[in-house]
Symmetry: C2
Subunit: 91 residues, 2 copies
C-alpha cells in the first residue's frame, strides 16, 4: 500500500499523492467545430472513382475524404483506425 | 506566478507542483484491436436500403455500421462527431 498507517490502525494517505483520472475525450479535435454534429452524405450513384476512401480518424485535411493522416495518428497513439472504402465494383 | 522567489531573486518551484500533460490519445478504445488497421469496404452496388449510416465515432456496437452511440459519446465529451450516410438516391 502507498502511504502509512496511523497508531490507531487507520490508513494515512501521503500528502504528495496525486490521482489523475483519464476522462472521456473528444475524438474530433478541430473538424467543423461550429457544427453540432458532423454528418456527411454520399450519393453512391455519383461516386466517380472505382474506390473512394472516407476518413474515420478525424485527422484528414480533406475530410470527409481520407488523406492518409490516420497513419500519423496511429503511430503517435498506438491506435489502429483506418478509412471506410467505398467500392463501385468487386475487385 | 505559482511558487515564490529566493532571496537571490531566483524562482522557487513549489514542491507540490505537478504538471500533467495531455498526450495524443487513441480514438478507438476496443474495436477489433487485434487488427493492425481497421479498414472496411462497402460495395455500393450491394447496398440494400436507401440510406445506410456508417460509424465514425468508434463506439458503435454494430461497427462498421452506426447504431447511434455517437450521441452518448458527444454528450459525455462535448464532441460533435457523427456518421457517414450512404444514399442510393437523392432525397
Ligand atoms: S485520414 Fe482519417 S482515416 Fe485516413
Ligand atoms: S455510432 Fe458511431 S457514428 Fe454513430
Amino acid at each position: 500500500r502507498i502511504g502509512g498507517v496511523k497508531p490507531n490502525g487507520a490508513a494515512v494517505r501521503p500528502r504528495s499523492l496525486v490521482v489523475v483520472r483519464a476522462e472521456a475525450q473528444a475524438i474530433n479535435p478541430e473538424i467543423r467545430k461550429n457544427e453540432e454534429k458532423v454528418v456527411d452524405s454520399v450519393l453512391v450513384a455519383e461516386l466517380s472513382k472505382p474506390l473512394t476512401a472516407y476518413c474515420r480518424c478525424w485527422r484528414s485535411g480533406t475530410f470527409p475524404l481520407c488523406d492518409g493522416s490516420h497513419v500519423k495518428h496511429n503511430k503517435a497513439t498506438g491506435d489502429n483506425v483506418g478509412p471506410l472504402l467505398l467500392k463501385k465494383q468487386k475487385e
